[in-house]
Chain length 349, copies 2
């Protein structure tokens, strides 16, 4: 486990940031996801995140992705700031969006995920995986360091579902102040039952665990990782408990994990309702980078809410800030840029 | 005008190949396009080209893109060969496909083009342009040399339409042995009438020329070029008379054309039915690279047909071979790789 120290980290010559955008109907379960003002508005969150990262504002979605009750702005503000400061190249990947953004996305022809209480949660897992692998193979000659983030409302519940199917206990994190863990556990239990699964029963069938309990973001990220296997590319999974679940699948698939790491924010690590640190220790994740944007020092109230547990992570925010750190961007410079992004949006005031 | 000479050309450090895939209903006019076995099958040609370039074979499309009467294989075989030999990174861009391929495509959310005999040929020209420009801005920090090709059946007719609207005479090329020029002229004439245009009447409104007489590939390529303006990126438009038409639009938009070039095959240059060389001279294209795959020396009959005028160019084939040339690939090595691709496909025998 390592806190970012730009003094000792190596600036990559050919970095890239990828953000996988997906929807799962699991997010429509009332009170499950706080990644949007209402359960239905979470459909727009990944598209809104992409538009915000690319342009500094939303274009086609009706409202900025915010988390009630204080309209804390989406973590995509951090991702935008990091990409602006580093000028790192990036792509958005559409892996099962209900609403597509008005900015270019690489389409993996995935269908949105179903409610995990249905027998099938993700269709064509293998196809999504293969197409993502093609994509990584195309990109790998021009990359030495790739950070892969995600934006999928409801994603911590599907993460819990997959962890359960693979045989891991451990609470997942949440975008809400109050993590609705009991509800998540109940949804996962119903999902396991609908798919005829018991705890750990799919430990040898990780792709089936995605199909039954996961979401369409997962096979996309795993296919990308597969396409970078055997190369010199450092792969950083940018996210909290969701990326821990992705890492678990990768481990169960028997991939080489030497060049892999997870990067997330301090807010996930400090989330007492979740077991991120224990989980990454159990999974033997080689390196975990922790980015601390120090929002407690900010004059913007919306940003303060991150310190007290709202949102915490998403849209690869922690990994994007980690990347900025590799480029020598300090915490103060980073926070200042995030504040600029918020001011232009009139958000988080 | 320059023939490729690897001795004097500079190998790019950060090359990229982009292929814009589009459809226009103009290709449904019987006997207009030979980029497919029948007018309806041309719908599948761009998707088939992408699948072939990525995987060496077709995946979802029903037949390999071939041109009758001798089933000459699509020029995408050249593109695949060049990308294999150079390992250059690449992307496909979906700008108005009717049929999408089973490989990752960057989606510009464009609608397929209408028959140019309708009043509107391309919808949302500005939107497609803006999204393509975003994409180029994302990519430009990792590129020093970009080759942009296209695959759009019926594209020489829309090229003729735009050239007419901008005030250029000059015959366009064709994928058929016998260029159906009279039919193309008649279609363009009807299209000009349907849009209330006369020769050159849109010389000051090039974007409107696309909307009335063009196809959705054009605003995508032009948006990409716009996103690379003012940078050190060398931009090579890979195509024959279609890319000459794109260049004409760029010129009329008043872009800086210093870093621009066109690359095509010898077969387009030698097409006596078309006026490629005159057109590029009139347009003052700074550099035209001409790639000669020397298919006359091949043992495969299908490849021989290129020498006698079938297909000639497409899917950025000339530009892709030009790129291979920059990497020091010789004509013999290139042709040998194309023959390998054909043998695996059992095509062109």
């Amino acid at each position: 486990m390592a806190w970012i120290d730009p003094e000792v980290t190596k600036k990559p010559k050919k970095p890239m940031f990828l953000c996988v955008l997906s929807n799962t109907k699991t997010a429509h379960i009332p009170k499950l996801s706080a990644a949007g003002k209402t359960a239905e508005l979470t459909d727009y969150t990944p598209a809104g995140d992409a538009e915000l990262i690319e342009t500094g504002n939303i274009i086609s979605v009706p409202v900025l992705p915010m988390t009630p009750p204080y309209d804390t702005p989406t973590p995509a503000i951090m991702t935008r700031s990091a990409l602006k400061l580093t000028e790192a190249p990036y792509h958005f990947i559409n892996s099962g969006l209900i609403v597509t953004p008005e900015v270019p996305c690489i389409d993996l022809k995935a269908k949105p995920g179903e409610d995990i209480r249905e027998p099938i949660a993700v269709r064509d897992v293998q196809g999504i995986y293969e197409r993502a692998k093609f994509l990584a193979k195309r990109l790998r000659s021009q990359i030495d360091h790739v950070v892969i983030g995600e934006s999928i409302p409801g994603g911590t519940t599907t993460a819990m579902g997959v962890l359960n199917a693979l045989g891991y206990n451990g609470n997942v994190s949440s975008s809400a102040d109050e993590n609705p863990l009991e509800l998540k556990k109940q949804v996962v239990e119903e999902g396991m039952k609908a798919s005829g699964l018991t705890f750990g029963s799919l430990k040898d069938e990780p792709m089936k665990a995605i199909a039954c309990m996961g979401d369409p973001m997962m096979p996309a990220v795993i296919g990308l990782v597969a396409g970078f296997q055997g190369t010199e590319v450092d792969v950083v999974l940018a996210g909290g408990t969701q990326m821990a679940a992705v890492y678990a699948i990768i481990k169960h698939l028997g991939f080489n994990t030497e060049k892999l790491a997870i990067a997330t924010t301090r807010y996930v690590v400090e989330d007492k309702s979740a077991h991120f640190v224990e989980l990454t220790k159990t999974l033997e994740v080689p390196v975990v980078y922790i980015a601390d944007p120090g929002f407690g020092k900010s004059s913007l109230k919306g940003l303060h809410r991150y310190e007290t547990g709202t949102i915490k992570e998403g849209a690869g925010a922690g990994g994007a800030m980690y990347l900025a750190g590799l480029f020598g961007v300090t915490q103060d410079e980073f926070r200042s840029e995030v504040e600029n992004v918020c001011k232009l949006l009139k958000a988080g005031q």
